[in-house]
């Protein structure tokens, strides 16, 4: 088999799978409460976009995820750099971060709802904490592993402290953060959607919990599909960005 046409075979297999699923559902062999047909899922998707009610939810989820991502990356870098520069800060931060890293951080979602209410703040907080811990460890361990030879090279070219930061430390930190960008994006959306799922009045996570409470599995699967597509699209953008900025690798 020609490996170049793997995608064509995958597509064909997927089409066969969908057709069989549709046919079996049509024949009445599937309980629509558990397993709606692809046609029903498609109809649910079309209804979401056709009625235009999806936009406010997409906006809410995107807003929370991107805000959490941005704040989390900034805080993670600042804390990571501070921790590497000031031993006292490292002593305080490391146990807290290790603890936060050890538990699945989404368990904080109900607590954040109590603290920050059911509005967007609790979703941003969850996204933020997921991303910030990841980036903190990326930067904190990364700075310790900066290539000693590069540091000595800049020193022997009469580079001072500032030159070291600018030409060695900053690019190294940027490389590690970019290398983890996809994971961070995934975390940010997980935080937003889980936060909405727990308590919210808007967002994809809210729609999911609505679909669950009304036993609307066609809507549920339509949303799962939509979330997958959204995250994959953002992965693709993050991947392009990473590839361009890390083209020296």
């Amino acid at each position: 088999m020609n490996p170049r046409f793997a995608w064509a075979r995958q597509l064909a297999a997927f089409a066969v799978f969908l057709s069989v699923w549709q046919a079996v559902g049509h024949a009445g062999w599937l309980n629509p409460i558990y397993a709606p047909t692809p046609g029903q899922i498609g109809a649910a998707l079309i209804e979401l976009f056709g009625s235009g009610r999806i936009w406010t939810h997409l906006e809410a989820t995107f807003g929370a995820a991107l805000a959490g991502l941005a704040l989390g990356v900034v805080a993670g870098i600042l804390l990571g750099v501070l921790g590497s520069l000031v031993p006292f800060v490292a002593e305080l931060l490391e146990p807290v971060m290790t603890l936060l890293n050890a538990v699945p951080r989404v368990v904080l979602a109900p607590l954040f709802v109590i603290w920050f209410g059911i509005g967007v703040a609790s979703k941003i907080a969850l996204s933020f904490i997921l991303v910030a811990v990841l980036i903190f460890f990326t930067v904190f361990t990364g700075i310790r592993q900066v290539d000693r030879k590069l540091v000595e090279r800049v020193l022997t070219l009469n580079g001072g402290r500032w030159a070291l930061v600018r030409h060695v430390y900053l690019p190294s930190v940027a490389a590690w953060v970019l290398g983890n960008l996809k994971v961070a994006v995934g975390f940010a959306f997980t935080g937003a959607v889980v936060g909405e799922f727990v308590a919210a009045s808007r967002g994809l996570g809210y729609l999911l919990s609505f679909a669950q409470s009304t036993f609307n599995s066609a809507l549920m699967l339509a949303l799962v599909l939509l979330i997958m597509v959204v995250v994959l699209a953002i992965f693709a953008i993050a991947g392009r960005l990473e590839k361009h900025l890390l083209r020296w690798k």
Binding site: E152, R153, V154, T156, L157, H167, W248, K249
Partner: protein, 238 residues
Amino acid sequence: MSYGGEPVLEGASIVVGEGQFVSLVGPSGSGKSSLLRAVIGLQQPLEGTVEREVAPSEVAILFQDDALLPWKTARDNVALGLTLKGVRRGRALEQADVWLERLGLGSFGHRFPRHLSGGQSKRVALAQVLAREPKLLLMDEPFASLDAIVRTRVIQDVASLVEREHISVLLVTHDLEEAISLSDHIYLLSRGPRAHVTRDYPMPLPRPRDPVRARTHPAFAALYEKIWNDLSHEVDRV
């Protein structure tokens, strides 16, 4: 010179005259690298002094590992050596191009280090330090990682460049042929700890000199034999 325990080097007195090419050979671990690191100021000697008649910014060092910044192109790496010396960026880039050209890398300036071969990367590192117009060039086994042909070519280029620019050189090497064919003077370091200079040999081969032709000079074999015996004696000593 010491790292806390017994002194690594003791009484290692080496003189590099202006425009002279001096090599330092000796057993592994005798402190050759430590000595170079002390001269460039990466390490403080416990006692004793490093006397330089040149300013710190006029001393350059090359290691076995080129340590080019991976996120900068060859051209930017060379220019960095100049901007860190206070040259403004536009001028630094011009000079970088001149030196890359001189080292036969005119069309490789835009490449990142990952996309350079061992020999090309070595030449970029050379351009980086030579563009700074150093008075003293320190080299710590810089050619050890290159394969034989590339190595010979790079050595020829280094020899002619330092001769032309009148740069003083202190080379640490494991390779006696390399040391004899390049040097005006060779120092032999004893086995450490407390390593010291046990012998030193003036090299009678005439200048200007091609390091490949030098190997066929009538005096070469006898010099090699003599220094080799002394070096083996140091390595085998218990």
